[in-house]
């Protein structure tokens, strides 16, 4: 297989683009896709310092690498979930990455904020671990950004993540979630930091290939709690569709963003207020994170 640009030996085939690239031209393609995402959604400027939420996985470290190489000012945020060896290893990967590139890495221990690590929280909530984990991450990313004065948080969500989330929302017609499914969520409250997903144009295969070709040492092992997660089941369904029809995931997500999302956006009219307990933004009087922390406190004391 030959590179579309130079005719050399290809390192990766991109069926949805009907193309293949050698290593240098794939890296160039990847960076252009990120630049296109940043520009299209005006995600951030070169005057801002971007807080990159990193997990030690391929996506978030690939994103951090692209932003650093493109000359952006960045810092990393690692949320320590306390998931046994998985968290120890992923934290070590993030620390090594940050040190090798002379970047600041903030570390927040979820157990200190919620009252217990995710493996303890999960049986208390009687819901999948990903539920409390996702809630904690969203809350702590925003809180950490506010505390340290960052105006924007970038996450490593890729095209597959976004397509799977959209698929799940549509499967259950979660019309409250659809307006918020966007590569860039603006700050709609002084205590709500802008959140952006510069990898939304790139598939999971592409982010993995980029991380590999750039020599990024990322954690390959899956989170032990991700086994059987609904998001994985949705990804598997979409991968079958993609195999039969290359570009299916791209068309599903991009079609939604271009043509359907604006209609759902018009339907949304949510009043935001500050949580009476912690002061963070919520739609009720007490935010979901404080409710979770209170539940954990009652069950563990």
């Amino acid at each position: 297989m030959k590179c579309r640009k130079c005719g050399g030996a290809a390192a990766l085939e991109l069926r949805r683009h009907n193309a293949a690239f050698c290593s240098p031209h794939f890296i160039e393609f990847f960076r252009k896709q990120v630049a296109e995402a940043v520009q299209r959604y005006r995600m951030f400027s070169r005057e801002e310092t971007i807080l990159v939420a990193v997990s030690g996985g391929k996506d978030s470290l690939a994103l951090w690498d692209v932003l650093i190489e493109d000359g952006y000012q960045t810092a990393g945020l690692y949320l320590d979930l306390g998931i046994f060896d998985y968290s120890r290893e992923s934290k070590a990967k993030c620390e090594a990455f940050a040190a090798s590139r002379e970047q600041t890495l903030h570390v927040v221990r979820v157990a200190e904020a919620v009252g217990a690590a995710i493996p303890v929280v999960q049986p208390i909530t009687r819901r999948p671990a990903c539920s409390a984990c996702g809630l904690s991450k969203r809350y702590l990313m925003n809180r950490a950004a506010l505390e340290h004065g960052y105006t924007v948080v970038a996450t490593g969500h890729n095209l597959d993540d976004e397509a799977a989330t959209l698929f799940g929302s549509v499967m259950h017609w979660q019309t409250d979630a659809l307006p918020r499914q966007s590569p860039a969520l603006p700050s709609t409250h002084p205590k709500l930091v802008r959140r952006v997903k510069p990898l939304y144009r790139l598939s999971e295969l592409e982010t993995a290939a980029f991380a590999f070709l750039r020599g990024i040492d990322y954690i390959v092992e899956e989170c032990p709690f991700a086994q059987g997660a609904t998001s994985i089941a949705h990804k598997e369904v979409l991968n079958r569709l993609e195999e039969a029809s290359p570009g299916a995931k791209h068309n599903f997500l991009f079609g939604f963003l271009d043509r359907a999302q604006p209609a759902f956006e018009r339907m949304e009219g949510v009043e935001l207020r500050e949580c009476v307990s912690c002061g963070q933004v919520t739609t009720g009087s007490v935010c979901a994170f404080c409710k979770l922390a209170d539940l954990v406190k009652r069950r563990t004391s």
Binding site: M1, S23, K58, C133, F212, V220, A226
Partner: protein
């Protein structure tokens, strides 16, 4: 050839030469869900593998509540 699979980590021995795409069909793996690595290089689906090759088939899917 030796094929190293992940999540969970295991190894399988496969005899004879074949293209990567045919190997993945035999292993019941969708090509878009893995990187196939030999000697620290990525292989495309038309690459021929076999003999003394050591391949890593590395899954790309992550789940749960990423980032």
């Amino acid at each position: 050839m030796k094929v190293i699979l992940r999540n969970p980590r295991r190894e399988v021995q496969v005899d004879g030469k074949r293209r990567v795409k045919d190997l993945l069909v035999e292993l019941d793996i969708l090509p878009s869900t893995v990187l196939v690595i030999r000697d620290n290089e990525l292989l495309t689906s038309d690459a021929v593998v076999g003999g003394d090759d050591v391949l890593e088939v590395r899954p790309v899917m992550s789940g749960g509540s990423a980032p």
